[in-house]
Subunit: 220 residues, 2 copies
């Protein structure tokens, strides 16, 4: 099962010879991160690249005062390369990664990839290309934070959640939304209260129910 | 002269054969961008990668309302790859690039690089690696904007300028500083007035004189 995943998701797979493929398969392993677990917190840690089987990981930065800003999330059938920054010396910033929900991953350890990178420039190209795709996500996040009003950012968050889960109820606290959109809890609470008045959502402890999808869309 | 620059700055140069090196040299050309010229404004434009001979380029994003945020700058003996985004499909955002001062570059046109990229994965790795280095700059910029107070950001800007130019007088308007640090002109003016009171700088039309470097350093 790992073989077919890797074959399908790693564009350099077919360049490897039979022995290298076997070594890579032998070296990788599956693991589960429970919801909320912080699985990566600095450059020093370098477990390897992670193929997401299901669930999702969130990459974020934290200020000295503990304020978090989510940079991007990585979903099923995508590969997280920021847990292997020791393989990429062009990355000189620390990111944190945690599991947004229970998440199964295949880890390809850095020690297994490292000798292959030296032999195949294609692997290096793949790692940096994947990092650059996330770069695009970060620019988008940055544009949101810098240029969009808070109500629009909250609306986009709610819209993405109901579209992603296909469910009109979102289990999330105001504090969590603030961290996802890079704002303060007080601002999120203010925006949500306004959305309640407008009849777009109803609020319960730890839950938000979207009651008028059409109206919400107007804020995107 | 171009040959020695490219040989020194392009890590894939020695992988090319003699014919390819000649083709590349024949295909590239030198040009000068006058201070303030916007030389790249969207994905549609794809002139090629630029080797900076002297001067500096600034890459930035612009909101719908015209607010600018500088993402990073590229200096002498560095290579700007964001003027060749058509070669990198992982980049899906539009950036603007302009010349901060009169800037001489060698342009290697996308059409010249494109066939070589197909043959040499190393070139693709180089382009994405260079993009990822800029990614690190952007994360730093983002941390500044999100997590640092305006006075610290202005102080860092002034410090970088006097260090870079080795001159205590900086020719810059408040509006330009605001754009560099991703803030508003009014905020910059307020911070500078405070710095005047503290005896750190004196202000003249379009110029800032740093009078107490030691004191300025305290704000970094």
């Amino acid at each position: 099962m790992h073989r077919s995943k890797l074959e399908c998701l790693l564009p350099f797979w077919n360049d490897l010879d039979t022995f290298e493929k076997e070594q890579l398969l032998k070296g990788c392993f599956e693991t589960t991160y429970r919801k909320g677990l912080m699985l990566h917190r600095s450059e020093q840690q370098c477990s390897g690249i992670m193929v997401i089987l299901n669930g999702q990981l969130r990459t974020y930065i934290v200020s000295d005062e503990g304020r978090e800003v989510t940079l991007f999330r990585v979903y099923q059938d995508n590969v997280c390369v920021f847990s292997a920054t020791c393989l990429m010396d062009a990355i000189v910033f620390d990111v944190m990664i945690d599991a947004v929900e229970d998440t199964n991953v295949i880890i390809i350890p850095s020690a297994v990839l490292s000798p292959l990178i030296k032999k195949y420039p294609k692997i290096e190209a793949y790692l940096y290309k994947t990092a650059t795709e996330r770069f695009s996500d970060v620019i988008w996040t940055m544009q949101q934070i810098l240029f969009l009003s808070a109500d629009k950012r909250v609306a986009i968050f709610l819209w993405d959640e109901i579209t992603w889960t296909n469910c009109m109820t979102i289990s999330v606290t105001h504090d969590e939304i603030a961290r996802y959109i890079g704002s303060a809890r007080e601002v999120v609470t203010k925006v949500l209260k306004y959305f309640v008045q407008e009849g777009i959502v109803t609020l319960e402890r730890g839950k938000i129910q979207v009651t008028d999808k059409k109206l919400l869309k107007k804020y995107l």
